[in-house]
């Protein structure tokens, strides 16, 4: 049956939207010889959904027909839903026409598994190949690697795609077995290993021969679903950290579980765990960019991230012996660890103090959030606070404000509970 294009797009965009990656950065495809598109460096969000997420790529499934029956997935076999499938040419035409109108940075193509893994993967690769070779397309292409696809196909995919990803979805083997019985860790990690080996190999060869064709220049990523199973934040972050180190992953994405199917194996929740998801991303950034170790943010006593305050502030409150830092002399690495100071401000502080002694006013102008930072730093040996606050008091003053009237306290607490769902 021929479904009109508009309806196909509705169905196949609707089923792809729970995959949270939308990054379009890191590609290094220069437009040489008057082709279409140019993807150098920075990603661009061309639009934002009403839930505030970035729309950078045309993110669709090739088809939502699937032979698997994963409990958390909209497209699972036993779900009675409308099904549709694009042809290879339809995806190519949509991508090119959207790109030419400046709607998107490129394509993020995933798929349900029909017939078998290789059959599906081969079609995904064909879309990318057609875009690159027939249309001289230099925009961004992210292909999902189908679990169980052969090494040859994964290798070919990397020749045309900027990024490859394999979704782990569930953080432990037990959860995987209970919710996605047809999948197992090994099948997910094997292609991830192949991609990593290939990335390393091509990088080595490039040193010798500049003409070596590139392989997924924007690297590989994965996604973990949060809140569908019982894992702690500590388990999740430890896994993520291991993936960054052992598989050279560019990004791990955390997707707060949105209930899309009823299943006795799944928890019943009214709203997705958005705050928890946000805290995981903050912890992820601290580990990747701020030099924190996972064990500093989470340990046996604190297996979950604090929902009320961000992980950097939580760390600082647990480690008050490190503070206060004198902003005019402290090392860059330590300034990065002060709540309320980000990478940009830290760099500005280090640059500006070569010229003059910094004052509180300078810090304010540089963009330091003094409301948070003032408990942890001194400026010229002086603190902004005249008295010592204990950990509880600082936490309260930062969350609820410094006036602390009973009414406002009650209001924000209610709000927090509602958000934490």
């Amino acid at each position: 049956m021929q479904t009109p294009l508009l309806e196909k797009l509705s169905i196949l965009a609707d089923s792809a939207k729970y995959d949270v990656s939308c990054s379009s950065s890191g590609g290094k495809r220069k437009n040489e010889g008057k082709g279409l598109g140019n993807a150098e460096g920075m990603g661009i969000c061309h639009s934002y959904t009403e839930d505030g997420r970035c729309v950078s790529l045309l993110k669709i499934l090739l088809t939502n027909f699937c032979i698997f029956d994963c409990a958390y997935c909209v497209s699972r076999k036993s779900n009675d839903v409308k099904r549709a499938a694009f042809t290879v040419q339809e995806v190519v035409d949509l991508t090119i026409n959207f790109y030419r109108r400046n709607y998107i940075e490129g394509l993020f193509l995933s798929s349900g598994i029909f017939k078998n893994a290789d059959y599906t993967m081969e079609r995904l690769v064909r879309v990318a190949k057609k875009l690159r070779l027939e249309h001289k397309f230099n925009g961004y292409i992210h292909l999902k690697t189908i679990p169980g696809a052969s090494e040859e196909l994964v290798k070919e995919a990397g020749l045309y795609a900027d990024r490859l990803s394999v979704n782990i979805e569930l953080p432990t083997e037990e959860s995987l077995q209970s919710l996605a019985p047809e999948k197992n860790f090994k099948e997910v990690l094997t292609p991830m290993g192949h991609i990593k080996d290939q990335l390393v190999l091509v990088k080595e060869e490039k040193k010798l021969f500049k003409s070596t064709p590139s392989f997924a220049p924007a690297g590989q990523s994965t996604q973990l679903i949060v809140g569908a199973t019982a894992e702690t934040d500590r388990q999740i972050m430890t896994l993520a950290d291991g993936l960054y180190q052992n598989f050279n992953l560019k990004r791990v994405y955390y997707s707060g579980y949105v209930p899309v199917v009823t299943d006795s194996r799944l928890p019943i929740i009214s709203t997705p765990p958005i705050i928890r998801e946000n805290r995981l991303y903050q912890a992820d950034w601290l580990v990747r960019l701020y030099g924190f170790g996972v064990n500093e943010l989470l340990d046996e006593q604190n297996p979950q991230l604090d929902l009320q305050i961000d992980p950097k502030l939580a760390w600082a409150l647990r480690n008050r012996h490190v503070f206060p830092l004198e902003i005019n002399t402290a090392d860059y690495e330590m300034i990065l660890r002060v709540p309320g100071i980000g990478i940009k401000s830290a760099k500005k502080i280090v640059a500006a103090r070569r010229f003059s002694h910094l004052t509180w006013e300078h810090l304010r102008q540089i963009g330091v959030v003094l409301k948070r930072a003032k408990y942890f730093i001194t400026c010229g040996g002086r603190s902004l606070e005249t008295r010592e606050w204990d950990e509880e008091a600082i936490r309260r003053r930062i969350i609820f404000g410094e006036k602390g009237s009973r009414a406002s306290l009650w209001g924000s607490q209610m709000d927090l509970f509602q958000q934490a769902g």
Partner: protein, 278 residues
């Protein structure tokens, strides 16, 4: 009190800087010729643009500044907000009077802070244009996009689109400032559309000039936009922070729908959801 005026061009402004140094009379205000002087006692100097003088100032700055900080002086000119001329003058004077390397990083100096803030605003607006420009294809294969940015960023986005759409003819037209950039597969030219239909000069493209598949692709994009949304996560505040309403005018996905797009009914969640116990 010295009130310097110039013809409004960047070279003109640099010539003013040169003149001020030569006369050793620092301006209290700089404005376009025709602007009202700051007070009746101000001494008025009109400075005609002289390219060789402008070039000397510009190259002198280049020797003392990093490339980014150097370009930022031009960006402050395109910023066009009130007082930009004096800001540039103060910054240039600070640079020329300093003997230290890397003065552009001296964030304890107010004009350095202000220049950095202006640079950031310009970067954001440029980046927004690169994101929010929407082309529509005409029957003769030209891709047209009207824009009306807060600051004059068109000169800054041209090279981005030149690289990206090297194989298509395009025209980006600044409706607020009434000029555009046209790419003809070879190079980009600045164009003025004095004789164009009024609609186009106001940023409206009539349906007759568009190619026949244009409405289909616009509708497909709207369908896509409506279906990637996850209603459970609705967050209007965040949405507006990323996409302020003043940019909606030319966004295809924010134009009225021909029909409403309901979410696909593929979810099977119980309608009466039991509350989680705390």
């Amino acid at each position: 009190m010295h009130f310097y005026t110039y013809d409004g061009s960047f070279e003109g402004l640099l010539t003013v800087v040169f003149e001020a140094y030569e006369r050793k009379e620092w301006p209290t205000q700089i404005g376009r010729e025709g602007e009202a002087p700051p007070g009746i006692f101000a001494e008025h100097h009109f400075v005609p643009t002289q390219e060789d003088k402008a070039k000397r100032v510009w190259e002198g700055l280049g020797k003392k500044l990093s490339k980014a900080a150097w370009e930022n002086v031009y960006k402050a000119y395109l910023w066009e907000q009130s007082g930009f001329e004096m800001l540039i003058f103060q910054f240039v004077r600070m640079v020329f009077s300093s003997t230290q390397e890397g003065v552009e990083e001296n964030f304890s100096e107010p004009c350095v802070q202000k220049m950095a803030a202006v640079g950031k605003q310009m970067f954001r607006e440029k980046h927004r244009m690169e994101a929010f420009i929407r082309f529509q294809r005409t029957q003769d294969g030209l891709f047209i996009a009207p824009i009306s940015p807060d600051f004059n960023v068109l000169p800054l986005v041209v090279s981005h689109f030149e690289k990206r759409y090297a194989d298509q003819h395009w025209l980006i037209y600044d409706v607020r400032r009434q000029y555009g950039a046209y790419y003809d597969l070879q190079s980009v030219q600045i164009v003025y559309l004095e004789d164009a239909p009024l609609g186009l000069r106001k940023g409206q493209l009539s349906p007759e000039i568009l190619t026949s598949v244009e409405p289909l692709y616009q509708q497909l994009w709207q369908v896509y936009f409506d279906h990637v949304n996850i209603p459970e996560r609705k967050n209007q505040k965040l949405h507006l922070r990323h996409m302020p309403k003043r940019y909606w005018k030319y966004l295809t996905e924010k134009k009225p729908r021909m029909q409403a797009h309901q979410p696909i009914q593929n979810k099977q969640v119980p309608t009466a959801m039991p509350r989680l116990k705390a």
